[in-house]
Amino acid sequence: MAALTPTVLPDVGAPAAPTGRPRRVRVWRGIVLVVAAVYFLVPLLASFVFTVNDPVQGFSLDAYGEIFSAEGFGQSLLLSLGLAAATIVTVLVLTLPAMLAVRLSAPRLRPVMEILCTLPLVVPPITFVAGISTVLRWGPDYLSTTPLYQTFIAVQNPAFPVVLVIADVVLALPFVYRALDAGLGAMDVRTLVEAARNCGASWPHVMFRVVIPNLKSGLASASFLTLALVLGEYTVARLLGFQPFSVWIVTISGANAALSVAVSIFSLLLTWLLLLVLSTAGTRQRSGS
C-alpha cells in the first residue's frame, strides 16, 4: 500500500477542471483517467470478488468477518496507529523548527539540510535495519547497569517499540522535508515572522499562531505521507521482530488465502480513509478563510 500512496497524493486539492478547454485535451484527459482507473480498479475488483465468492455458498462476507476475530488484529492495528502518531509528532517537532531556523538565519546551510534529509532515500531499509540491530545487540556486560543499557532495553519494549519510531522518523525525513519545504516556499516566511516579531510575539507564539496556521496544507501532506509510510513499513519491523499491522498481515495471510486478500483490501481502504481524513483536515481551513 505504500507504493500506492504517491499516486493518491497529487489529486488532493487539485483545482477543479476549468470548463471550455480545447476538445482534444478533454478527450485525452478522459483516456488517461480510464486507463488509470482500469489499472487500479481491476485488480481491486478481482481481489474483492475472490474474497466474497465462496464455492459452496456463493456470496459470503465471512472472510471479512474473520479479520476482526483473527488473533492479534486489534493489537497490531493499534500499535501501527500509535507508531504513526508518534512518528508524525516526532518528525514534525524535529524538522519544522530546524527548517525555519535554516530559512531565517542560515540560508547557506539549506543544501546541507536538504542532502541530510534526502539521504534516507538512498540507504536501502535492509542496510538500515542491519545497522540498527547491530547497535542494539552491542552491549558489553560492564555496561549492563548503566542507563545506556536500560535505554536499549526500553526502546525495544514490544508493547511500544520506540526504536521503530526512531527508524520511521528517519525513513520519513525525505518526504516530510519535501512537503514542508514546498509549504514554506509558498508563504513569505521571513516577512510574516518578522511582522509577528514586530508585534511583540515570542518565538513559540510566532510558531503556533503564525507559521503553523499558514502551513496547514504542508503539514497535512507531511503527516499524510508519514502515515502511509508507517502503516506500510515492513522491513525494519519484521527484522527487529515486532508485530505492527503490516507484519501481522503477512503472518496471518499464510494460512488462509481468502483471508489474506481480504486483509489487504481492508488495509487499503483503511489507509485511504485515514488519508482522506487528514487531507480534509488540512484543506478545510484554507477554503474557510
Partner: protein
C-alpha cells in the same frame, strides 16, 4: 503617543564582502518624519532593520531616547514596522491582523475589537474588518499593515517603501494620509524610499545615503537647493552638466561668471551643475541657442537646447512661455545668478543627465 529620538551611531553591517552599512551616523528628532533616500542597495532597508531588531550590526549602536537598544530582541522593541512586501497574516482577517499585537499582550477581546475599529477608521477602512488579506487590494493591505504597526502605540514608526508596490495615484494619496496621520500622532517616523519626489514632498528631513554612509541630511528644500555633493545633486532632481573653468572663487560657464559653492576639484576644467529651472530662456531670432526638443509636462515645459559650443542643456519653463519656442527656433540662454556646484569633468558626459525628474 509621543515620538522618541532615534540615533544611529557608527552603524556598520557587512554581508560577506558586501558592506551594507559603513559607519552610518544619523539622528532623528522626536516627532519628525525622516526620509531615507538613496539608490538601490545603499543600505536603507538594512538601517531600518537594525532599528526594528531584525538585523544586528557588526559595530555601532542604535539609541532610542538615549537608551542603547542594539541587543534588545525584536519582540521587545517599541517600533512598529510596515514592510515593503505584503505582510498581513493570510489566516487572519483585517481586524485580527490589526490586533495581533494586542492579542500577544492578552488584551481582552472587547477592548481589542474597539481598538481595531478605531484604527481601521483611522486608516480609512472602517467597514473592511471582516475581510481577509486576499480579499483586499494592495493599497488596502498596506493600510491595514499601517494600522497594525500603530496598534501598540509605538514610539517609532518604520516604513520600508510601503508604497512601492502600488500604482502612482494610490501612492500619492496614501503617502499624504501617512503624513497626516504621522503629524496628528506626533510619532517619530523613518520612511525608506528611493523615490526622491516622495521623499521631498512628505518628509521634515531627508537623509541621502550612498554606499552605506550618510551623504547629506537636511530639510527637503536644502537638499534640493544646496546639495552638499555632486552625488546628492545628481540623485535629487535633474541636473545639467555644463563645461566650465574655475578661476579663483568663480567659475566661467556659458559666457557667465558664477560664484562656486562647496568643494572645487584640483583641475580648473570642471562640470558645472545647473538645475533646469535656473536656466532662463528668452526667444530671440539672433540668439545662439537652438531649441532641439520640447516636451510638454502639464504645468511646465522642458526644453532641450543646443548652445553655441555644441553643448546641450535642459531648461524648465512655465507652459505659456514656451509657446514661441518650438524646435528649431533660436533663443538666448542665461543662468540665474547664484552659487553653483562644480564636479570633476566627466570625459564622456558633456551632456545633461536625463535623470528621473
Amino acid at each position: 503617543m509621543n515620538g522618541a529620538r532615534v540615533e544611529f551611531r557608527g552603524l556598520r553591517r557587512t554581508f560577506g564582502t558586501t558592506v551594507a552599512l559603513d559607519g552610518l551616523d544619523l539622528t532623528v528628532e522626536p516627532g519628525e518624519l525622516i526620509a531615507l533616500l538613496g539608490p538601490s542597495g545603499c543600505g536603507k532597508t538594512t538601517a531600518l532593520r537594525c532599528v526594528a531588531g531584525f538585523e544586528s550590526p557588526d559595530a555601532g549602536a542604535v539609541l532610542v531616547d538615549g537608551k542603547d537598544i542594539t541587543r534588545v530582541p525584536a519582540n521587545r522593541r517599541d517600533a512598529g514596522m510596515v514592510f515593503q512586501s505584503y505582510s498581513l497574516f493570510p489566516n487572519l482577517n483585517a481586524r485580527d491582523n490589526v490586533t495581533f499585537g494586542l492579542r500577544v499582550r492578552k488584551v481582552p477581546t472587547a477592548k481589542r475589537h474597539a481598538r481595531a475599529a478605531e484604527l481601521l477608521e483611522l486608516v480609512g477602512l472602517p467597514s473592511q474588518g471582516e475581510r481577509y488579506p486576499h480579499q483586499l487590494s494592495g493599497g488596502q493591505q498596506q493600510r491595514v499593515a499601517l494600522a497594525r504597526a500603530l496598534a501598540l502605540e509605538p514610539q517609532v514608526l518604520l516604513l520600508d517603501e510601503p508604497l512601492s508596490a502600488l500604482d502612482a495615484k494610490v501612492r500619492v494619496t496614501l503617502r499624504e494620509e501617512i503624513r497626516r496621520l504621522q503629524l496628528s500622532l506626533g510619532i517619530t517616523t523613518i520612511f525608506v524610499t528611493h523615490d526622491q519626489e516622495e521623499a521631498l514632498s512628505i518628509a521634515d528631513h531627508v537623509a541621502v545615503l550612498k554606499d552605506g554612509r550618510l551623504e547629506q541630511s537636511g530639510p527637503p528644500a536644502e537638499i534640493y537647493d544646496r546639495p552638499a555633493t555632486p552625488f546628492v545633486a545628481e540623485f535629487v532632481g535633474t541636473m545639467n552638466h555644463l563645461p566650465g573653468r574655475v578661476t579663483g572663487d568663480e567659475v566661467e560657464v556659458a559666457g557667465q561668471r558664477l560664484p562656486v559653492h562647496g568643494q572645487r576639484p584640483d583641475s580648473p576644467d570642471v562640470d558645472v551643475l545647473v538645475r533646469p529651472e535656473t536656466v532662463l530662456v528668452t526667444p530671440d531670432p539672433e540668439g545662439e541657442a537652438v531649441v532641439v526638443t520640447s516636451s510638454f509636462r502639464g504645468a511646465s515645459v522642458r526644453l532641450r537646447l543646443r548652445l553655441a559650443g555644441g553643448t546641450e542643456i535642459l531648461a524648465d519653463l512655465p507652459g505659456h512661455d514656451a509657446a514661441r519656442l518650438a524646435p528649431g527656433e533660436h533663443a538666448r540662454v542665461r543662468l540665474v545668478e547664484r552659487p553653483v556646484l562644480v564636479a570633476p569633468r566627466t570625459a564622456a558626459v558633456a551632456d545633461a543627465v536625463p535623470a528621473a525628474g
